[in-house]
Symmetry: C2
Subunit: 331 residues, 2 copies
């Protein structure tokens, strides 16, 4: 029998779906108070047993007992499988787990929620949200000309799960999508795929530029002064990837110089963004606190990925969304 | 040879498309200064000749010379055909033209732009736009849970051109659309069509309720206290139709009582909305000044409708989007 660690809230939510597995798996939980229980019997546990598998999601990692949850995973004598609710693997805590676990699987369903964030920010920019809200605050009835997603040209840099979730939506709404990635096309939701070497040539013709590649030495600071200088003056810049992709000083200088027109950032170089950062008060920057995936749909999607992999794991079948050990090599 | 009146800006924009018609139609224009010209020759005209046809769009009706444009149409001894860029016919100026013209045609292409307004407002509500902007203004990095269009349930009251343009988009984004109209279904973009009599039964299950029926005695004040009381507390109410559909006092009372959660209005009972209206400053109301269709795409769409009908008119073929004289009967 395998022992699987879940946050107590995750177990409560999934309990009806786990019923058939009670002979194959023991579930132990940690709740927000940091207390451990045997999940099926609700018996309090003084110490956690060795853990074979764990599901690391927002319930655990963003709970008041995040440290206890993390410690339970790292203190287990061994860890056979870790299912992450995240797509990225560069977070230090996840790297430690990745070095320990025999099998490490990721999840990409949060791309759907993140793609809606991109539509939201694009529409608020195209529709002149800031101007409309300023007029409403003054009680002034004055029409404002707006743009549309229909007919807009998007350049999506990093055309993986997030990029494709965006591309499918933009294409359905009548926009034209160019995806930038190393693997040649075709790819779902994109009218064309461009190689990373063609990025600078593609930038000037885009109305909307979205970054969502992984953070690697090649992508770090890719959005620098030259990148912004190649954008159209009327264009919107968005970052759904990692803060380290963007030279923030160059971004502020570019916005102040009038090219691009606006930036929407879900991620920043330092998170939480320090209170004294000039990004907060810039009139042409919208900031969300790395919460573009914080929706019930994202929770459901990660649960489904975990449940499907748990079934495979208990049946001894190969897991999906495996990440090789090499991704966690080094410190 | 037919004589057709256009605003000077409209003629300048369409000139390349009108070239083949110069033997079939004379074009006369009025510019923003109220001056009339023979369009092909640029000859200034002291007085306008009798007009057979006119295209009434934003160039004319929202220009500084709106009065001169309107007067030119109404002073012509007769008017054979009027192409409106609008869908509605209840505006007093359009009613006067409708009573005068032998043939009156409407245009419905602005539905595309208006549908993007609905997506914008829905996403800003679901994504907690106001809360995010308040946090940014305070420089606070605090994650906010958001909703998604994916999986949301929409009730679109009045399932005509605007409703269907919304329905197609919401369905493509993974939402579920119920359209309310007299004509039974099926209809594009809607999972189901409900009859107007079923409205009250449908309201409680909708996450988002959008009004876009025409303004008639039956629809006036349809969104009243009982309507709002039937909505879900978490739901969004939107109006893309006419201000007269909504009892605004009942709306404010309902929002203050916590049901529905928020309202987005592109139209109000009195337009321009008076500076002392309580709607302006209400924290759970977003107001746009009847500009949901003000995009370049809308201009292009109306131009295409006019050009297609102009070709039919000059060839003596039946026009599309005709409105019967009865629509303009009475005062």
């Amino acid at each position: 029998m395998k022992t699987c660690l879940l946050h107590a809230r995750t177990f409560a939510r999934l309990r009806p779906r786990l019923k058939g597995l009670d002979t194959a798996a023991r579930f132990v939980t940690i709740d927000d108070a940091g207390k451990a229980h045997d999940a099926w019997t609700s018996t309090a546990l003084d110490a956690l047993p060795p853990i074979d598998a764990a599901f690391g999601n927002a319930d655990g990692f963003y709970s008041p007992a995040a440290r206890e949850f993390m410690t339970a995973i790292l203190k287990s004598p061994s860890l056979d499988w870790f299912q992450s609710a995240a797509a990225g693997v560069e977070n230090p805590a996840l790297r430690m787990i990745g070095q320990k676990a025999n099998l490490y699987t990721t999840n990409h369903t949060q791309a759907e929620s993140m793609a809606e964030w991109a539509l939201w920010q694009a529409l608020d920019f195209l529709r002149e949200g800031p101007a409309h809200r300023a007029l409403q605050a003054e009680g002034k009835w004055r029409r404002v000309k707006a743009g549309e997603i229909r007919g807009s040209r998007w350049l999506v840099v990093g055309y993986g799960s997030i990029g494709q979730a965006v591309g499918r939506r933009v294409t359905a709404l009548g926009g034209e999508v160019t995806g930038v990635r190393r693997t040649p096309g075709p790819a779902e939701g994109a009218a064309q795929i461009a190689a990373p070497g063609a990025l600078t040539a593609q930038l000037p013709r885009a109305d909307i530029v979205l970054l969502c590649p992984p953070h690697t030495p090649e992508t770090e600071n890719m959005a620098n002064a030259a990148f912004f200088a190649a954008m159209a003056p009327h264009a919107l810049f968005m970052n759904l990837g990692r803060g380290a992709l963007v030279d923030e000083d160059a971004l502020v200088a570019a916005l102040d110089a009038g090219r691009p027109a606006f930036a929407a950032l879900d991620v920043t170089r330092t998170e939480p963004l320090p209170a004294d950062s000039p990004l907060w008060a810039h009139p042409r920057i919208a900031i969300t606190p790395h919460d573009s995936s914080d929706t019930p749909g994202t929770v459901d999607g990660a649960d489904e990925t975990f449940l499907a992999n748990l079934g495979r794991y208990l049946r001894g079948e190969p897991l999906k969304h495996l990440v090789g050990k090499a991704a966690f090599a080094g410190s």
